[in-house]
């Protein structure tokens, strides 16, 4: 099979378009690169949606944890503890088992047993907990003077939060949040390895890489291809987040800007 043929058959294979049958023998490098790349669509889907929705939830959770009201603080603390204190692997397993047994109760839960929705929810809650903790830390370290100045200008409640507290919180949290985004993206590989079935062999990049490694009994081709894809996407994430970071810091003199540093100690 030529490269062009492989591309037209497998480029959208992970979404169910193109050739149904996966290659079974005489695997070419093209097939491996294209099929694994096709699987990356799922990783990007999980990563982008979980990160965007998780961001909103994380802000709410961080504000809840920093709140002085007990009924707001306690649930936020527990939420963060449960999702940060247990392995994502087990969370996904548990969620899948939970959704399958709920399916018996009511057909409403049918879509939740698919990876596209069920696993997305777990990833979303998980990243919300991790980012919530990061944002909470940032909320605690907002310079006192900023808030006093806001008070002096007569800003209170929502306007104060939206115009003073929130931008500063984001600015302080951004380097750590960049790492969180990278690791969430890496964590998306767990989905099809922990319960959620790859319907009609429509899996993510790791699913296909593992398929090739199992079939050829040769890990030295498929996994490095996958690693290459992930390094590429990690660089893209670092680039995009770097732009946002530059915007958040644009009012500061160059020496006081916070730089995004890579700190890989935030894995699940």
């Amino acid at each position: 099979m030529s490269c062009a043929e492989a591309f037209s058959s497998y480029a959208l294979r992970s979404l169910g378009y193109g050739e149904r049958l996966l290659p079974r023998s005489d695997f070419t490098l093209c097939e491996q690169v294209i099929l694994i790349g096709s699987g990356m669509i799922w990783n990007v889907y999980f990563g982008v949606i979980a990160l965007c929705l998780g961001f909103l939830l994380a802000t709410a959770v961080a504000v809840g944890k920093a709140s002085s009201k007990r009924w707001l603080r306690k649930p936020s603390e527990w939420f963060i503890f449960i999702f940060r204190g247990s392995p994502l692997f087990i969370q996904i397993f548990f969620a899948y088992a939970l959704f399958t047994s709920l399916k018996g109760v009511s057909p409403v839960f049918d879509p939740f047993t698919s990876a596209a929705l069920g696993a997305l929810i777990v990833l979303l809650l998980n990243t919300a907990a991790y980012s919530g903790e990061i944002f909470y830390g940032a909320l605690q370290s907002i310079p006192k003077g900023d808030i006093e100045a806001a008070d002096a200008y007569g800003l209170t409640g929502l306007p104060r939060f939206r115009r003073i507290v929130w931008p500063t919180m984001l600015r302080l949290a951004w380097p750590a949040y960049t790492n969180e985004a990278i690791f969430l993206f890496h964590a998306t590989t767990l989905v099809f390895f922990s319960g959620f079935p790859a319907w009609r062999q429509q899996g993510d990049a790791l699913y296909y890489a593992n398929y090739f490694a199992d079939k050829t009994f040769n890990p030295f081709i498929a996994y490095p291809i996958l690693a290459g894809y992930f390094i590429l996407f990690t660089l893209i994430i670092v680039g995009i987040f770097g732009l946002v970071n530059a915007r958040l810091n644009r009012h500061l003199p160059a020496s006081r800007r916070s730089r995004v540093k890579y700190r890989p100690n935030l894995m699940r």
Binding site: G85, P87, F93, A97, F193, F230, M267
Partner: protein
């Protein structure tokens, strides 16, 4: 386990649970928690050793050694750890068998890779196909430990490399001014002081290691996840020792609680260690401790 379990009328009563929870298979499930703890106990020091070696190599003046250390440390950036877990298990296994093949069967003339097959002579199989089942399990576990140690060694190397750079430069310059050699400076000045800077990173790493243990399941070791899936599933419901439906939810809930409790205990212990090591150190936390006592 209990003598009253032989009475079939018990099935409908709550007492049945006492019997259910003490059957042989469930005992294997409990024992697999031991497997996880054993993995942690063995892996943590090995990974720390790897990390230390890598950090020391990265600081080395010999250029190839320094490159090796830096590449190893940088390896875990950018690529999901689960990929390494899947990769190293096969790669190590094939590497070991390849080496044994070269040593034990020198007059073997067929290629090792034939299409999609990896073929070595029978004497080079690891473990030998005649070996008892227990050795196969030990070998699998050892591979898993090595894989964990390699991956987490890279993480630890990252932390320790950072910690070595955090030790005030003036200390090292003073040591050199006193005429210490490079080696003496490293062992007498740098290493004793770096731990307090490494501790936050290392405690974080411990938490990460604890949370990475379910990946054992992917490496083919019969760990808690394996048993939870096996025992909770309803697939044997018809012929079976356990007449129950799909109980995986409850098993995984149990695992979730196990991990939460384990994390919490680790947190408390690590906080105490930090407090103790901070004592008397010239850091902000040490200063705060001194003020609180005064």
């Amino acid at each position: 386990m209990f003598s009253f379990c032989t009475d079939p009328s018990l099935l409908a009563t709550p007492a049945w649970f006492a019997c259910y929870l003490t059957t042989g298979k469930l005992m294997l499930f409990y024992a697999s928690f031991g497997t996880v703890l054993l993995l942690l106990a063995i892996t943590a020091p090995i990974a720390l050793g790897f990390g230390f070696g890598a950090a020391a190599a990265a600081r080395s003046r010999i250029l190839p050694l320094s490159w090796f250390g830096k590449i190893y440390i940088a390896m875990v950036r950018g690529v999901p750890d689960i990929v390494f877990f899947l990769f190293f298990v096969i790669a190590l296994d094939q590497g070991i068998e390849y080496l044994r093949h070269k040593i034990k069967c020198p007059d073997w003339d067929e290629p090792i890779r034939q299409g999609s097959d990896f073929i070595v002579c029978a004497a080079a199989k690891m473990p030998l196909s005649t070996a008892p089942q227990a050795w196969h399990e030990v070998y699998g576990f050892a591979l898993a430990v090595l894989t964990f140690a390699i991956v987490f060694g890279a993480f630890a190397g990252n932390v320790l490399f950072g910690a070595m750079r955090a030790v005030p430069q003036a200390q090292l310059e003073t040591a050199e001014a006193y005429g210490m050699t490079h080696r003496q400076t490293f062992w007498r000045i740098l290493v004793p002081q770096m731990w307090i800077y490494a501790l936050p990173g290392l405690s974080n790493l411990w938490m990460v290691l604890v949370k990475a243990t379910p990946l054992l399941f992917l490496l083919g070791v019969e760990d808690i996840v394996y048993w939870a899936k096996e025992l909770g599933g309803a697939k044997t419901a018809r012929f079976t020792d356990y007449p129950h439906g799909d109980w995986r939810v409850w098993y995984f809930l149990g695992l979730l609680i196990f991990y939460l409790a384990f994390t919490r205990v680790s947190e408390i212990v690590l906080d105490r260690i930090t407090a103790r090591l901070t004592h008397g150190q010239a850091t902000a936390a040490g200063e705060a401790q001194r003020k609180a006592a005064a």
